[in-house]
């Protein structure tokens, strides 16, 4: 698996897209710092961008890489290699190189701005950690979609739909259900609802760490009570980990049964 990972990683490092992605984050980081002139404010703005953009890029890139490396995959399948190691190697190659672009692209401008001397460092690290989690989750989901769909157009379509659902539509449904059932106590339900969507979970996690939960009203207080504690943090991180493990297990399962 490590060899496949190595080759996938090299392959991606040589492709233009990793650099475009890296340059984009570099630019974003510089512009935000320049405009906000303040580290903590820049972190908040950055969060809003990351929460939406990282899943989108992970999904699109994952699907694109799978379809583009079809020839490479077929070449590998005829070699004495386990299927699970071929696909896991490719998945990790994509996810790691995307995460590296994210971490380096954002990290460099913030470090030059004096991140280590400020107290925003923990917020910023949490931002990067959730960004990495989201990259791993959505790349794995993208690989699942691509493995199940031979047709590229369909694969891309489903990938975009998945992103749209988790990033936007889910929130809409969630809010509507809160409005409809407003007569009932909803704090438990909303907690669970947040847990089930990795994007919402990451957003809440960062928001509460940034100590702006007062904006969220009563539910915010409940959330603060839950997420603000170490227990909440551990539960959230385990939830995000489960969001990685489940799709990865399905990649292994699907790959074992697929015909090429």
């Amino acid at each position: 698996m490590l060899k496949i990972l190595k080759y996938s990683f090299y392959d991606l490092m040589r492709s233009r897209w990793s650099y475009v992605y890296f340059a984009f984050y570099l630019l974003l980081g510089v512009v935000l710092l320049f405009l906000n002139n303040d580290l903590s404010k820049a972190v908040i703005t950055l969060m809003n961008v990351i929460i939406v953009l990282v899943p989108l890029i992970g999904t699109i890139f994952g699907v694109m890489y799978y379809y583009n490396s079809k020839e490479f995959t077929e070449l590998l399948l005829a070699q004495p290699l386990k299927r699970s190691s071929i696909f896991l190697g490719q998945y990790l190659g994509v996810a790691i190189s995307l995460s590296m672009s994210l971490i380096l692209g954002l990290g460099i401008p913030f470090i030059f701005y004096g991140l280590f001397k400020s107290n925003a460092i923990w917020d910023f690290s949490l931002l990067l950690i959730t960004g990495t989690f989201l990259t791993f989750i959505f790349t794995a989901l993208a690989f699942n979609i691509a493995l199940s769909n031979e047709n590229r157009i369909k694969g891309f379509g489903y990938a975009i739909l998945l992103w749209l659902f988790l990033a936007i539509i889910y929130d809409g449904i969630f809010l509507m259900s809160l409005v409809i059932f407003e007569d009932y106590p909803l704090d438990k339900l909303s907690l669970i609802g947040t847990m089930l969507n990795p994007i919402d979970l990451s957003r809440t996690l960062i928001l509460l760490k940034l100590d702006i939960s007062a904006l969220l009203g009563y539910t915010g207080a409940v959330f603060k009570q839950f997420f603000g504690t170490n227990f909440g943090l551990i539960v959230s991180i385990s939830m995000l980990t489960i969001w990685i493990i489940m799709p990865v297990l399905r990649i292994i399962f699907k790959a074992k049964k697929k015909d090429f």
């Binding site: 077929e74 070449l75 005829a78 070699q79 015909d259 090429f260």
Partner: protein, 235 residues
């Protein structure tokens, strides 16, 4: 060498292999023939574990291949269409495959046999079909495995390379290897193969030498013998 029992495979509603039994002994050149869509490539991909059969067992070199990948160390496989990652150089591809499969020194010999030196630093996406096929041949033959599977090895090759390929295959046979070939070029099959396996509608229709086939169909030459099987079964 190869033992296949009761192999079934369906793609959607399309039954490609229906209860295929085949035994191939050690040493010699075997040609797998059959009309388009008769299941030749599916059979080969089943042998390689790229296609998972619905039913039936396959063993290669005495080992059941289900859920195993190590047996592929002992198979050299030439895929039908040379689909390589386009942004790799020829040299890098060869190094990569060596890294994945193990050390070998045969690649230099094969590169000079097919006169590939000028292409080593070119990207695979920029090569012509015939040159890609030569790279494909180098990758296949450089590991010296006891079982060699060639899917349409002649496609895109010029006459000189074809002669070299035939010599190469004969040399492999002389080393006692088993070579499995599919091809639509009947003259190539007739010249090179010891035995043929004829697939029809997902089953083995005939297995034996070319002269046996001629006797069976009462045809004077090989090409007509094959044609007569096809017309008798599709008329």
């Amino acid at each position: 060498m190869i033992e296949i029992k009761n192999l079934h495979k369906k793609f959607g509603k399309n039954q490609v292999l229906s209860g295929l039994d085949l035994e191939i002994g050690e040493g010699g050149i075997f040609a797998v023939l059959g009309p388009n869509g008769s299941g030749k490539t599916t059979l080969i991909k089943c042998l390689l574990g790229m296609v998972i059969p619905d039913k039936g067992t396959i063993s290669v070199l005495g080992e059941n291949i289900k859920n195993s990948s190590d047996y592929r160390h002992r198979i050299d496989y030439l895929p039908q269409i040379a689909n390589f990652p386009t942004n790799l150089k020829v040299k890098e591809l060869i190094t990569m495959i060596k890294d994945l499969r193990g050390k070998t020194d045969l690649d230099k010999e094969l590169i000079s046999l097919f006169k590939l030196e000028p292409f080593l630093d070119k990207k695979l996406g920029n090569l012509s079909g015939g040159t890609k096929q030569k790279v494909n041949l180098v990758l296949t033959f450089m590991f010296d495995s006891p079982l060699v599977i060639l899917d349409e090895p002649t496609s895109g090759l010029d006459p000189i390379s074809l002669i070299r390929l035939k010599k190469l295959i004969q040399a492999e046979k002389a080393k006692g290897k088993t070579v499995l070939i599919t091809s639509h070029i009947m003259s190539f099959v007739e010249e090179i193969s010891d035995e043929i396996v004829f697939l029809l509608e997902g089953k083995i229709y005939f297995k034996g030498s070319i002269s046996e086939l001629k006797n069976k169909t009462n045809q004077p030459d090989f090409e007509h013998a094959i044609a007569s099987i096809l017309t008798d079964n599709h008329a």
